[in-house]
Symmetry: D2
Subunit: 345 residues, 4 copies
């Protein structure tokens, strides 16, 4: 299969190049950028020298449609909203890594993204690509809206609890922590090395656009889920997300039952690893890989459950999950070209 | 006033030396260690070369009592328990940085610390030294048990809410994050640089010995407080604690009222800074200083309040607060010799 | 003495505020910025909240001259060149932290700085402020050009060797490494956290503007010194410079003689610490302090000497040395208000 | 081909598992450890959970010889010296990652390694595995001694200059910097996170055991090479080595000629990338990959050449090069199973 990558100069785009360069069934036909046309990608990313000679091209939907089968749009929110319909209307399949097509309710989108709602037809067509919990036959799908990094970590962690009505749906608190690649490639005062090194920050309190995304999916799984509490921290590290999640159990339940539930829920999920009792994940153990590691703890003193979930935000939280979805579209094993061993340490 | 430091080779002890070396009213008469007697301290800490020529001495309570007025015990839990009564019985004043005399209930101490309970008489005498909330006339006090690092950050953040009955006492969740000096100076696999760098870990889930300490103080403030949820993370940074705290409000209250409550609660507290609405603290902004910065957020969607509190764990979380307590004992301004500007960046 | 700081929003300016806020003999009368006038400094640097209420003011030389005695210009090269004469002509004393008045030869300045030469009169008047090696009676001096960060580390390390004709003057190689605050406060792609974290970079090869500064001073000390080799690396840390320096000895000399020479050279220098044989410095041991730690090694296999010198680039490499020079101007002890114990760890 | 890994619990061993787990032509038959027998490897390295179920086995040369064709010994110096002959005498091929069989002169080995010399017969048989400069037909070789991490970076950088008699052989200075994985997996005070974070250290001055290794190879290439100057620094990062190398040119030569020489020298070397003029490498651009990136600079002021070379110390500096050598032994493309795109950022 031939694919193109639009938005190749961001971190999501570069990670797609890293993965697909080693993928056995897919080849990158072209890469595109709105800002750096005609420059070889290794000018932006010297680590790609000798690995790819590809030159960034303009974004011409018709032309792209004549040459490839599927496009990854790793473009920012607000750009994808306009670009994606054009690509789809030209017959391309699209996997969109932006947030533009994730929120089904245009009013909610507008409120949290502060942007104009997207094309209603394609919004309706978009399949939310949380791979482990998609029911659709993906080989028929044209358009996947790839989940956000935080929602991926949070939703994989909460799914068994929420789907099985085990927790008080008003008690969900997600304390999320991310490495700094989550903020993208643009240099800003917040991400200036001396200000971020040896520092821990909290940001976008009660304002993060991933809040409605998480709530939307949770309430699809369990209609009673109301507003959640979700906070986000910047940790002085390059990659990685940890979501520490708390909820009140609705009934008494033993740890062993919870553990078994999680194991069964993910028994066919190559990329989800449930840790043994008393073992907890750390972000480095998934570094550079597509794994999501999950641990559970039950505190009988409070009858509260804690779920800890970690991913590499550029992999399972972005490019990795996008390729996992591509594999599903192709009808091949989900780990094809994706079974990187984590880079540890 | 002449003081001695026991346990000078740990991070708490070294930070006491840093502070007291510049203190206008106090001088370090001697430093003591159980393991490195007769060695100059700058062999353990070369950064102290030319600053102090002091040599580590044995721990002889009687001899120390003849020479100084007050002793800081920066010794580990299990050591302080035995050492402190000896010092006190010899007429010394003591400020103990260990956890041994914080927990008033011996059964609870034994359960969480896995150690034998301490001397009952001196346990009863010990004043818990959360400086901003001590009512005692400290100039009369002989023995202060200095609070733990996490409890300091958590309790300063929660005090106004709990004391004023504003939150559901069963809903308190504290998600705490610490720099790696919190783990002490002993090299361990967990704190080996390649394993900790660029990594985020969660540890001691539902087992941390600071849980009963926080609960004890909260329930003194408000008898209805039950068990809390408290989790601890290791962040790849040297110093700093951030406690992100969540609780359900018992009634509707405006952000402005909460803010005013916090400002009033801490109006005389030199070291507590309440951030303006929309501003949130980061650990580097208190680096090397004794400040505790606190922010509030109110989410009307969930009627939940979030409090974020940051400290330098070696300063306000240990040696800094110990010296603040010393200043109180001496009846001098609490910031004497402690008014370091944070080292930023 | 009343002073003003111009360029208070850069890292050098902020470090001056940190130091002078605790200085016993000096008070900051006003702070100035070309870009953020009328804003309180704690908007730029929230760590200064409650410490100073000062508001950034415009830069009006005449007005400043009516109110203070001395000005620190912590402005970028190219700005100081114009600003400094104005201040001096208004009768102010000036300590300039930029590179504009360091290079005595205007042609050399133009070649390396790519900027127009500065005012010839004041260039001639400027005293190069490498404190430990200034012969002038500073109480008579009006204008000090504060050394660069790399030159400070390199020159303090090389001085005894060069002044005593012990090394082949054509063999000097300086391999310098710096923390990222050396690049200033402006966010750039190079200093974007994800690109700099866990990374080591080399930059400005054979082009660094500190090369002519080092050569100028070395050749004042020893006319035979020719061009040197000097390279600069960015290390993933906030503060600190290490200069590793190599030179061929002109005659056989024992390590002990070298060591004695260094001890004697710096016996009256409070801020220079010569390490014992076999001990080597690290940058953290001077963190936040004004010390320069120096070690020597002699390799008889090659008859080469190696000198290792470390400083905190914002302290001894910038603001600290500037205050040390201020103390000299005032005729008070050089360590007044500057005797911070390094913040370790 | 079936292989075994001895010393699987060190960083070199874990990296071999990461690589070989994805290798198309080789399978890991067994892994061995002297200290953790009968434990699954994922107890030591939880990131390997679900990736391999292998259990650490005892080290029994005869038994191993019955089951596999080749053994990687990722054991420490002093262990390999005894183990390797046993394995070879049992008919196994061996690639040894320790330093024990690198130094051909037993007296030199004893002097620098402070250990008893190794078996003379097998020392003579050992082929030094700097892959790009091996002339032997490797398919006939039984025993490869894999180069050290620093020597790999230094020698690849210096080879064209030294082999072509372009530099004064007495002028070579190598200033090397390494990430902390270079110090191995054992937790030590030096590598304790709070002591290493935000810090830069120099260590083993004039004592590093890689000095005789570099000198031995250089003098094989050019008999005139005498003792070199080589210094080593610990940089606060996980992986990566940068060697900054200086030498006096023996004659005038243009940058372009040097550049062309390097390009030609490495035109068939998949893993060596020569950077364009003015571009310099950084360690992150080879992170997790087997590349060695090299830049050149010529300074006409001093007639000195500078070569900068970077590698990932666990890949090209250890396990990666070992697998590259394995590929050569197998007669397959050197990049088979090794063509990882660097993980950036």
């Amino acid at each position: 299969m031939k694919i193109a990558i639009i938005g190749a100069t961001g971190y999501g785009g570069a990670e797609l190049i890293r993965i697909l360069n080693m993928h056995p069934e897919v080849s990158i036909h072209s890469i595109h950028s709105s800002s750096q046309q005609n420059k070889p990608i290794h000018e932006s990313y010297p680590h790609l020298e000798s690995i790819t000679e590809q030159v960034l091209q303009e974004i011409d939907a018709e032309k792209i449609a004549r040459q490839v089968d599927l496009v990854f749009t790793a473009t920012p929110s607000g750009i994808s909203s306009k670009l994606v319909p054009e690509l789809l209307n030209n017959g391309l399949k699209v996997i969109d890594l932006s947030g533009d097509y994730r929120i089904k309710n245009p009013t909610v989108y507008k409120e949290w993204y502060k942007k104009q709602p997207v094309d209603a037809y394609w919004l309706h067509e978009a399949v939310y690509g949380l791979t482990e919990w998609m029911d659709e036959d993906l080989t028929e799908i044209k358009f996947i809206s790839n989940p956000g990094c935080y929602p991926t970590a949070a939703l994989l962690g909460l799914a068994p609890l929420v789907k099985n009505q085990l927790i008080d749906t008003n008690s969900i608190i997600i304390d999320a922590k991310s490495g700094v690649t989550g903020a993208g490639r643009n240099a800003t005062p917040t991400t200036h090395y001396p200000e971020m090194n040896d520092n821990l920050k909290i940001y976008k309190v009660n304002e993060h656009q991933h809040i409605p995304e998480i709530e939307q999916v949770l309430s699809e799984w369990n209609a009673e889920v109301g507003p959640i509490t979700f906070s986000t921290h910047l940790v002085p590290m390059t990659r990685g997300i940890m979501a520490t999640m708390y909820a009140d159990l609705t009934k008494e339940i033993k740890y062993e039952q919870l553990f078994q539930l999680y194991q069964e829920s993910y028994q066919d999920a190559y990329f989800v690893r449930i840790k043994e009792q008393g073992m907890f994940p750390c972000t480095k153990e998934v570094y550079g890989s597509n794994f999501c590691d999950i641990s559970l703890a039950y505190d009988k003193r409070t009858n509260r459950v804690m779920v800890v979930s970690v991913i590499d935000n550029l992999m399972k939280g972005a490019a990795g999950q996008a390729v996992q979805n591509l594999n599903k579209l192709l009808g091949i094993a989900e780990q094809s070209g994706l079974d990187f061993v984590p880079v540890y340490p």
